[in-house]
């Protein structure tokens, strides 16, 4: 590890730590903070980072790679299918119209048609990194604008694959043993062969995901070493990315595919929470690098061209987005967030422009201009959103009536999390599912998880007491958490975590014994379910019936006994810490119980059923009521 590496790390991390909190304090959001930090440490201001900015960019792009892996992970086929209309409708509309407009404008300005088309495609991209980060920070992911934004971004991210495949066909010179730095398998192949290689690589990732990654993760999970799992997760991401680089493809897309393949596996949540912190840091680094790489020299040399380019791009993109939003019936507020949020050119444009330049479709000068403009639009986006939030919406905003809709959106996701899917939890899961409620299930026995998944349950491997796992399982949006873990200690620590971190969640807890129940009462839980209560009483009821009791009377006696026992539990728990009172109370409770039992026997069927008790009617001889 060289001193320069440490030095660079010091600068970048310090930049993040200094600028992001300031930006957050000023209400600007973290993305803008990273950008400003990047610009300031960049070669044109402080010059802490100079020429190596580009290398850092390459390194930091790995943040984007991880982000796409995570987006892929979140994209289950079922939810993708549910959103298909939104994704393809808004996606095709946005990309098609933006590409067409950019193409027309550039063609008028004397670009070749190939260059204009390639640029148009690249410029129609928006930045998934910025938008998703911003939406999440503002808590807008579940709103209409958030969903539309996600749909458009997803469509763009997916369409990068065919675009990369098509670009070689646009290359003027056909074959080129080009000068570019990194060698790849694709170099020197004709356009159609490159397209084939690309499709083959994509298929390889899908197959590897299914037949290599999942068995590997299962094997690792069985060893039960948390850091090893993290290592395996990183290994998967890096290996996929590396494969893609070898065949000369975008690593981000490869990992996106890998993510989608793994989204359906039981390791989804565990992978998400393991990769998340790495992604966060690297993505921050990426934003700093974008800020630092803005070529102010170029801007100073061609101020008018750059200004026109940036302004024109944002205007074109925003217009198309606004119309798209209108067509998908977003309200004005939501549409403004959608429009301005996606109005920048995204990080994939860097990838595409690099490829375009490598294929010699576009001159180096214009490639630099386009990349510069892209970086500037990215920096401008958070400012636009801030302006929208501060000045436009307060004036023109229709104070929205989204409350009801939002409740629906939450309901649509899984409202229940079941932690622990042993014999206790699985019964709950089956019962809920039989009634159309699908729960997210967490269990940390990978063998059991495997079996249950084969039976069609939606079970995830993970340690439910980990905060990040709970977050991934949707604890922020769920309504109920059912703690059904076998070990009372783990259950209790889970309950503590939930009460601290997700106070809105209603917690329902399995308790093994009376003593566990006391601990849970002390922890402030009121929904406690003792394994040893209902089933025992049911057995008791059946025993009474076997002895000749009428069934209804026995059942009612059982119902009342459970009620009595639960009341007694709460009463005793309050006095438990006071030893003397506890003993006294226990004695008192036993006495009460004895009395109750005696009374139950006397007033068969149950203590209170005077209305059905013929002896109580002895008085009724006066004829004031029809006889029974």
């Amino acid at each position: 590890m060289s001193a320069t590496f440490l030095h660079d790390a010091l600068i970048y991390l310090a930049t993040a730590v200094i600028f992001v909190p300031v930006a957050k304090r000023l209400g600007m959001g973290s993305v803008l903070g990273y950008f400003i930090g990047g610009i300031i440490i960049g070669p044109f201001f402080l010059g802490f980072v100079g020429e190596e900015g580009k290398d850092i960019m390459h390194f930091a792009e790995f943040g984007v790679v991880m982000m796409l892996f995570l987006i892929g992970l979140e994209l289950e086929p079922t939810s993708f299918w549910r959103m298909r209309r939104l994704i393809f409708g808004t996606g095709i509309m946005q990309m098609g119209a933006t590409t067409l407009l950019c193409f027309t404008v550039l063609f008028i300005f004397d670009f070749t048609w190939q260059a204009a088309l390639a640029c148009g495609l690249a410029l129609s991209m928006s930045s998934t990194a910025i938008v998703m980060q911003t939406l999440r920070e503002k808590g807008l992911t579940k709103t209409q604008s958030g969903r539309s934004s996600f749909a458009v971004l997803l469509f763009q991210d997916i369409s990068v694959i065919p675009i990369l495949a098509l670009l070689p066909l646009l290359a003027v010179s056909g074959v080129h043993n080009a000068s570019s730095g990194h060698a790849s398998l694709m170099e020197g192949l004709p356009g159609w062969a490159q397209t084939l290689v690309l499709l083959a690589a994509a298929n390889a990732v899908v197959l590897a995901g299914r037949f290599l990654f999942v068995p590997l993760l299962r094997f690792i999970a069985r060893i039960r070493l948390r850091e090893l799992f993290t290592a395996a997760a990183l290994l998967i991401v890096i290996a996929t990315a590396d494969l893609m680089i070898i065949v000369g493809l975008s690593p981000a897309l490869g990992t996106f595919l890998a993510g989608v393949v793994l989204a359906n596996s039981e390791f989804r949540h565990e992978l998400e929470s393991d990769i998340e912190p790495f992604k966060g840091v690297l993505l921050g680094l990426f934003f700093i690098a974008v800020g630092a790489s803005i070529n102010f020299k170029l801007i100073v040399a061609n101020p008018i061209t750059v200004a026109l380019l940036v302004f024109g791009l944002i205007a074109i993109k925003a217009t198309v987005l606004f119309i798209t939003g209108k067509l998908s019936r977003l309200s004005f507020d939501q549409n403004m967030i959608f429009t301005l949020g996606l109005s920048q050119v995204g990080e994939f444009a860097f990838v595409l422009f690099a490829f375009i330049s490598q294929l010699k479709i576009l001159s180096t000068h214009w490639t630099d201009m386009m990349m510069g403009a892209t970086a500037i639009t990215m920096t401008v986006t958070p400012l636009l959103l801030l302006t929208n939030e501060r000045f436009i919406l307060p004036r023109f905003g229709t104070k929205e009536s989204v409350e009801e809709k939002e409740a629906d959106a939450v309901d649509a996701r899984h409202p229940v999390i079941i932690a622990g899917f042993g014999h206790f939890g699985s019964t709950i899961g089956r019962f809920l599912r039989a009634n159309g409620v699908h729960a997210v299930i967490l269990d940390n026995d990978s063998d059991r998880v495997d079996v249950l998944r084969k039976m069609g349950f939606k079970v995830f491997y993970g340690d439910a007491t980990r905060l990040d796992i709970l977050k991934c399982a949707g604890a922020d949006e769920a309504k109920i958490l059912i703690a059904a873990i076998d070990s009372p200690e783990i259950n209790l620590s889970l309950v503590d975590t939930i009460r601290k971190e997700f106070p809105h969640l209603r917690v329902m807890v399995r308790a093994k014994s009376r003593l566990d129940a006391y601990d849970l009462i002390d922890a402030g839980i009121s929904n406690i379910y003792r394994e040893s209560l209902d089933t025992s009483v049911r057995l008791g009821i059946d025993a009474l019936i076997a002895l000749g009791f009428r069934k209804y009377s026995a059942v009612r006696a059982g119902q009342n006994f459970i009620k009595y026992d639960e009341t007694a539990l709460k009463k005793l728990a309050a006095h438990r810490h006071d030893q003397e009172a506890y003993i006294f109370n226990t004695r008192e409770q036993i006495e009460i119980q004895e009395q109750l039992l005696a009374a139950d026997r006397e007033a068969n069927p149950t203590l209170y059923d005077h209305a059905w008790d013929s002896e109580a009617h002895a008085e009724k001889t006066s004829g004031d009521e029809p006889g029974k």
């Binding site: 009612r556 209170y608 005077h610 059905w612 109580a616 008085e619 009724k620």
Partner: protein
Amino acid sequence: MNKILILFAHPRFENSKTSRALLKNIRQINDVTLHDLYEEYPDFNINIEREKKLLLAHQILVWHHPLYMYSAPALLKQWLDMVLEHGWAHGSRGNNLKDKIIFNALTIGGTKDAYTAGGHNKYTISEFLRPFAQTAALCKMIYLPPYAVHGTHLLSPSDLADYARLYQTLLEKLAQNDFDVDAMSKYDYLNDWLTEEMGANP
């Protein structure tokens, strides 16, 4: 001021448009307690002591339920059997409900015409309600004619809203003691009394 207790019994409340419409605005009235029996006692295990306390705390009681097989859903019958104990609600020493006012609020699938001597159901609603009337009498309560929503399957949303408004007005008038038992008893339905009243002094 009178306190009103609605003893509501509907085993499929979630699917009942009519009942939901009727009860939607009820919770906002101050002196009304909505007591949802199927929600409180899903196991039919009625807490009799609690029910007695509730009854004592209110002056006007409503048996609010759909008409099932010309009577109330099973839990309300269970409630009658269990709660109205001899020696408490009736009998020579059972005077706890004396002079309280009670009536049925009904949601009925059949139309008014179906409940006539010549109609499909042969008897009128008040004839079908005789067990309730006599139970009230036995407990020394004052029994009023029913408030009824007929032909529930045929109602448009605006019809429902009208019925709901009328029900709310009824409860408000009862709470404010703005009624006369003798005048009310002349009608078959409280609906008719209300329309007449509101027509007289709108």
